[in-house]
């Protein structure tokens, strides 16, 4: 078997698309101006920042004025959550989130919990789904804010955001969703989706790292996280990351193109081939996350009797990049809070493996992984005291 290099960790980060990089290049040297400057160097750049805002808005069906560029997805999550809490604390102190949020949401909500708020963390079912019924039952008189992610980074499950948002709207509760994994990968339209705030991150959709955005619905008022010069409509001060923002804009346009071309269907086909292939070739494998309500590029499993990091490093040795929610990959003692929240045992969760495809993943890549993975599993199971011999 010829060695390939197959990167299947697009949930962690994506390469910058050629056309995105090309769009960014002028803004480092030639058009390096500060968009806040009124001379030619600044004015030229301001136009491109405005253009990028339109492009990112168009990805969501939003108005440009509703897009706040930030220094990444985590910062946008923090801005949304701390901003909402600060804006609404006089009205009530109860906030709701789910047990499977990314740490940028979960830890921020927990921080609210340490600072005067009452926090409800909703459970999920075995597929990692938040139930609208459970959500509704958790609402209180003093609930002011809720945040539930659009799609999970570890298990790929896509949540019923439209339903959750509708419940919030009915009850006058501000609703945020972390769409970092979903944006650019599944169509999102805020004209029909009842969310007040939505987080994006460029580097998860073939844009650069270090730039994100918060969609903030017109009329929703929150205070900034970063005070200062008043950039981004006063909501995110600091000289704009012009190259990054322009790159994000281009990435948004390219994502729209991919939707138009039906590229997500191709991705979904390869994802299914991968999931089905793994289940056919390896025994004692558990799909994690929902089988169909999942990100089109996302495959995740738990492989019994072996540990995730060991799998990753052996896959790495044959040129495959993947990730795991095993404790050993994070240096913590517990495996991923997401897998545990779905009711998996610690032992099973330690065997987690995430393979996230990209727009340039080929069928040959998938075939290669389907050939390479079984011997890795076999070798490790042979070393394991739990492996059946």
């Amino acid at each position: 078997m010829e060695q390939r290099r197959v990167y299947l960790d697009h949930s962690a980060t994506t390469p910058v698309d050629d056309r995105v990089l090309e769009a960014m290049m002028p803004f480092f040297k030639g058009d390096f101006g500060n968009p806040n400057s009124i001379h030619a160097w600044g004015r030229r750049v301001r136009e491109h920042v405005n253009g990028a805002r339109e492009h990112v808005a168009s990805l969501l069906g939003a108005e440009p004025r509703e897009i706040i560029f930030t220094g990444g997805g985590s910062e946008a999550d923090n801005l949304a959550i701390k901003g909402a809490a600060f804006a609404l604390k006089a009205r009530g102190k109860h906030v709701i989130t789910s047990a499977i949020e990314h740490h940028a949401v979960l830890d921020t909500v927990k921080w609210l919990g340490e600072n005067g708020f009452d926090v409800t963390i909703l459970p999920v079912d075995a597929q990692g789904m938040v139930s609208p019924e459970t959500f509704r039952n958790s609402l209180r008189e003093d609930t002011v804010f809720a945040t539930v992610m659009y799609a999970n980074n570890e298990v790929g499950t896509v949540q019923p955001i439209a339903e959750l948002g509708a419940i919030c709207r009915e009850r006058g509760i501000l609703f945020h969703t972390d769409a970092v994994q979903a944006a650019g990968h599944i169509p999102i339209d805020v004209r029909t989706l009842p969310v007040d705030m939505l987080t994006l991150s460029a580097h998860k959709m073939y844009g650069p790292k270090g730039v994100g955005a918060l969609y903030l619905r017109k009329g929703v008022r929150i205070p900034p996280l970063v005070h200062g010069g008043g950039q981004e409509f006063g909501l995110r001060s600091g000289t704009e990351n012009t190259a990054g923002i322009v790159g994000f804009g281009e990435a948004a346009l390219l994502a729209l193109d991919r939707f138009e071309n039906g590229d997500d269907e191709k991705e979904r086909f390869l994802r299914d081939k991968l999931i089905d292939g793994i289940q056919a070739r390896i025994d004692a494998v558990l799909l994690t996350g929902h089988r169909t309500q999942r990100l089109p590029f996302h495959a995740s499993v738990c492989i019994e009797h072996i540990e995730g990091e060991a799998m990753l490093l052996r896959l790495d040795a044959v040129g495959i990049g993947a990730s795991s929610g095993s404790a050993c990959t994070s240096g913590s003692l517990d495996p991923s809070h997401v897998l545990l929240a779905m009711g998996l045992s610690h032992v099973t969760a330690h065997g987690s493996l995430r393979l996230s495809l990209g727009k340039d993943t080929t069928e040959a890549d998938i075939d290669y992984v389907l050939d390479a993975l079984p011997p890795v599993v076999e070798t490790l199971r042979a070393m394991s005291p739990f492996g059946r011999k």
Partner: protein, 125 residues
């Protein structure tokens, strides 16, 4: 993150398996925490003549286990008990801070196997 030695012992682990008719078996660690090591030894004249390991765990745990088996093979039981996690670490050329505990697992595994052997001897005596 890992030294070349760690990578080598992880990718080409020495002494994998379990001994039929082992004289002593140690099983340490906790599957819940992500690492379990099982080590079996053959003992002749108070000396470890053969040793095998099985490990459920990360690369550091597997490499630590494997190198530890090499370090005690041929040693007397008392000598084997002198092997500490420091020695394992040194032999591996170090481990990342959050993986140090894996070397401790190896030390504990050796100790458990030797103790198992000695308690069997005591019983049969």
């Amino acid at each position: 993150m890992y030294t070349e030695t760690v990578r080598d012992y992880f990718l080409n682990p020495r002494n994998v398996g379990s001994l039929d008719h082992a004289d002593g078996i140690g099983e340490v660690g906790n599957a819940k925490c992500g690492d379990v090591m099982k080590i079996s030894i053959k003992v002749e004249d108070d000396r470890i003549t053969d040793v095998r390991f099985e490990t459920f765990g990360c690369a550091a745990a597997i490499a630590s286990s494997s190198i530890a088996t090499e370090m005690i093979k041929g040693k007397t039981l008392d000598e084997a008990l002198q092997v500490t996690n420091r020695d394992v670490l040194n032999a591996l050329g170090g481990l990342p801070a959050e993986k140090i505990h894996c070397s401790l697992l190896a030390e504990e595994g050796i100790r458990a196997a030797v103790e198992d052997y000695r308690s069997r001897m005591a019983e049969s005596a």
